[in-house]
């Protein structure tokens, strides 16, 4: 029965054609969206290699006489260029130092607290868990004045923890470590079977030994995700660093980049572009390399800072 099989074939090929057509259209849309998504990045890459360095003179995506001049200026290697208070290397180091230390300390606080919440039963446990969530409703940002005064007063007594110190800023960041992440971590810990703990207890291990030797190694994957998100969040923080640090040598990278916008921003465009790229690239690479793990964390409620 040729007629039936013919119609069937033509139906199939038209379906196939439809499918191809739909994919082609979606690919075109994808290209438009990709242009929207990466154009600002390409433009800033171009600006960073454009030696004319002003916003007004950058007219094409491929600079006519590309050079590394902006990067040399950024690291003060260009004797003919002077831009006020530029200490870019220091800002990078400050940012890495502050984010690194706060991330490690806050991971320790989070993990230990989550372990207690998951494995021990004590009075007020549920109240505390709920309280931790409730307190997060009051964003740090709203208490800026109070935090400023608090750090100022602390500095009057212990100058190394006061305004314009990294230790003071790290302490403020740690104040936020008893938060949402405890819930995430506790959720993960709840999925680890208790048999592991009990086998340890039978052998006479203390809570600390069980935590350190048996549980902690199993937490590696979630520790990596929370750690990276928290590092990126601290690295990208602007406002707390802005009000607590007031010496150019103490600035973090974000505060440093922000001062480019004061005054004649369009004249500093090229150097800013170079600095912005150096500041953004490591984070972009981390994200793109670990996108699957990070997406997993996102759907569970982790928030980028």
């Amino acid at each position: 029965m040729p007629s039936i099989s013919q119609t069937f074939d033509s139906l199939r090929s038209s379906q196939k054609f439809q499918k191809r057509f739909s994919i082609a259209i979606r690919l075109v849309i994808a290209v438009i969206l990709i242009v929207f998504s990466i154009f600002p990045v390409l433009w800033i890459v171009s600006a960073s290699f454009d030696p004319s360095q002003s916003l007004a003179t950058q007219t094409s995506l491929i600079p006519s006489n590309a050079s590394l001049q902006n990067y040399q200026r950024l690291f003060s290697k260009d004797p003919n260029y002077k831009f006020g208070d530029l200490v870019f290397e220091k800002w990078i180091w400050n940012s890495v130092k502050i984010s690194g230390i706060s991330t490690i300390l806050s991971l320790m606080i989070t993990t230990m607290a989550a372990y207690a919440f998951s494995r021990m039963r004590f009075k007020g446990r549920v109240t505390m868990l709920k309280g931790i969530l409730l307190i997060q409703v009051f964003p740090n940002l709203l208490a800026l004045v109070a935090i400023y005064v608090l750090i100022f007063q602390t500095g009057e007594i212990i100058p190394r923890l006061g305004l314009n110190t990294h230790a003071g800023l790290i302490m403020v960041y740690l104040g936020g470590s008893m938060g949402m992440n405890i819930w995430l971590m506790k959720g993960f810990l709840d999925t680890i079977p208790r048999d592991i703990d009990e086998s340890g207890m039978v052998d006479g291990a203390s809570h600390w030994q069980i935590f350190w030797n048996l549980i902690l190694p199993l937490l590696r994957p979630i520790l990596v995700v929370i750690g990276i998100l928290s590092f990126i969040g601290t690295y990208g923080d602007f406002i707390l660093a802005r009000i607590l640090l007031n010496d150019v040598n103490q600035y973090t990278l974000m505060v440093g980049l922000q001062i480019f916008t004061s005054g004649q921003f369009d004249q500093k465009w090229g150097v800013f572009a170079a600095g912005a790229l150096i500041g953004a690239l490591p984070i972009m690479i981390i994200y793109l390399a670990l996108q699957d793990q990070i997406v997993g964390g996102l759907t569970q409620g982790a928030v980028k800072g």
Binding site: F122, I135, L144, I157, I243, A273, A280, L298
Partner: protein, 533 residues
């Protein structure tokens, strides 16, 4: 400890087995901590940081309870977290609430105890009373000295910042007396003749003598007089009396004010009740900009969440096809906006959207011959902010939507297809409701995040363009939180207003709190907490 572990004998694990050594370290560390806390509290007390004393005291007591009582063993696992939480989250909250009911701000930065001595230090030059005749001397550095003779004929030498001492012509460093008994010279100084001294502009403003001891100022060409304390505080009536004219100043909301409306600076911190909240709602100077700010503060997150979600979801649906080519690379390229630290992206966009030199406006001018002025026209500034936020926010929505889409079982769609549902019906009746269950809480979280999205608003054009005639710095793209920041840290010569800023913070807190509590109900987080208890 392990009471809730079913089927296990109740065993105080970790506690009874604690070795002597570990107990000893615990006690030693606790004693060291206590010593540090006591030292800190003593210092804080001596500097008058009363609130800090209280909060550190609370934390110290908490630590001692936690590390001494065996029942508190689980809390030892979170002692440091709790300490930081109390110090840097809870205490600032309480402090903010307190400040919201005070007049804390420029002109009222000091406590009353600090302000009164400053007020009582102020002096005035009495019109009458004990006077000296004076002769001025000047050295090459332009510093002055005065030779003073009081009505009893006693003579003194006065220099600024030095104690006024009796002196006689012929003393070491002092020249011989002339016919009037005034030394002709001082070592290092040149005597000024009467005419020169009378026309000297600096001389009448110089305070001779040691502050707090005895200060003399020139009253007129022939007389100098001792400055007298101007204000006297009376604790019984809480008033200040002006010694120069007897006028009484009453304590009005932290400023000593006379019946005629004159005030004494500095003012001091005091509780003013609901004044800040009243100002917030009723002050005509504030109301205009505030109505604008509040309206925009609701429009901005609403439009942002809807636009980013719409675009993110559209992309997720479009590429939710396992056979789609280049799927992974497309996704990687599309999430790029999300991977750049927000501050950097915002500043880049600020350059791209520059009205004069930005590339966007260059392209628009070439294509359609005109371009909006993104930074100076209120409407276009708001559009620009929404556009930038769309760019910043759609990748997140795309990621969470595509995650949620994959969790919708495909047999529901098959059943719907058999029933003849169109693709719009399938989206409207199946995809969207199921998706909203999964991403609904995230949408609310995103709303809350954008409600307080300080970085975008502030870094883009600092809330501008400015609203003309506003009593405080306020712009057309300002939201409450950026307005709070400006009030507290960027007064622009109008004086910082911590009290008002804090009261607005509290209003924001109630709005955000209500939305968040709604979100928690949505996600059943409370129930989850109770179930695992």
């Amino acid at each position: 400890m392990s009471q809730a572990m079913p089927g296990k004998p109740k065993k105080r694990s970790g506690m009874t087995e604690e070795s002597f050594l570990s107990k000893l370290t615990r006690i030693i560390l606790l004693v060291a901590f206590d010593a540090g806390a006591v030292w800190f509290i003593q210092n804080a007390l001596s500097k008058g940081f009363d609130q800090l004393v209280v909060v550190i005291g609370i934390i110290a007591v908490m630590f001692n309870v936690i590390f001494l009582l065996p029942q508190a063993y689980p809390l030892r696992w979170m002692a440091f977290g709790l300490g930081f939480l109390i110090l840097f989250t809870i205490y600032p909250m309480v402090f903010t609430v307190y400040v919201a009911f005070t007049n804390y701000g420029d002109g009222h930065l000091l406590t009353k105890e600090q302000a009164i001595p400053l007020i009582e230090k102020q002096v005035f030059l009495p019109e009458g009373g004990k006077a000296y005749t004076w002769t001025a001397f000047r050295n090459e550095a332009g510093e002055y000295a005065l030779w003073l003779i009081n009505p009893d004929g006693e003579t003194f030498l006065a220099k600024p910042g030095e104690e006024i001492l009796p002196a006689k012509p012929g003393d070491p460093g002092i020249g011989e007396a002339d016919s009037k008994g005034i030394p002709v010279s001082l070592e290092g100084y040149q005597r000024l003749n009467t005419l020169l001294a009378a026309s000297d502009k600096d001389l009448p403003n110089i305070k001779f003598g040691l502050e707090g001891d005895q200060v003399i100022q020139i009253r007129n060409p022939s007389e100098a007089a001792e400055l007298q304390i101007r204000f006297k505080y009376d604790p019984a009536t809480d008033t200040v009396v002006d010694q120069s004219n007897g006028e009484i100043y009453y304590n009005v909301e932290g400023t000593f004010t006379s019946r005629t409306g004159k005030t004494i600076s500095p003012g001091f911190r005091t509780v003013v009740g609901l004044k800040n909240f009243r100002d917030f709602l009723t002050s005509p100077a504030l109301r205009g900009p505030l109505a604008q700010i509040v309206t925009w503060n609701f429009i901005f997150p609403t439009v942002s969440v809807l636009s980013t979600f719409a675009l993110g979801l559209a992309i997720a649906i479009m590429f939710n096809d396992p056979e789609f080519p280049f799927k992974r690379i497309i996704r990687s390229l599309l999430i790029i906006p999300y991977t750049i630290p927000g501050l950097i992206s915002i500043i880049i966009w600020r350059g791209l959207l520059n009205s004069e030199f930005g590339i966007i406006n260059k392209i628009l001018n070439d294509l359609i011959g005109t371009a909006p002025r993104w930074t100076t026209e209120p409407f276009w500034a708001q559009v620009a902010i929404l556009l930038v936020n769309l760019w910043l926010g759609y990748p997140y929505m795309m990621l969470v939507s595509s995650g949620a889409l994959q969790s919708i079982p495909s047999d529901i769609y098959e059943a719907a297809m058999i029933d003849g549902a169109t693709s719009w019906q399938r989206f409207r009746r199946i995809t969207l409701p199921l998706l909203l269950i999964a991403v609904g809480p995230l949408l609310i979280a995103s709303y809350v995040y954008n409600f307080n999205n300080f970085n975008l608003i502030y870094l883009f054009i600092a809330g501008g363009p400015p609203i003309p005639g506003a009593a405080t710095q306020a712009g057309y793209t300002d939201i409450l939180i950026s307005y709070v920041y400006k009030l507290a840290f960027e007064s622009g010569g109008r004086g910082v207003q911590y009290g008002l800023a804090s009261s607005i913070s509290i209003v924001v807190f109630f709005i955000v709190g209500a939305i968040t509590l709604f979100q928690y109900r949505f996600t059943n987080m409370w129930e989850e907490a109770s179930e695992n208890a």
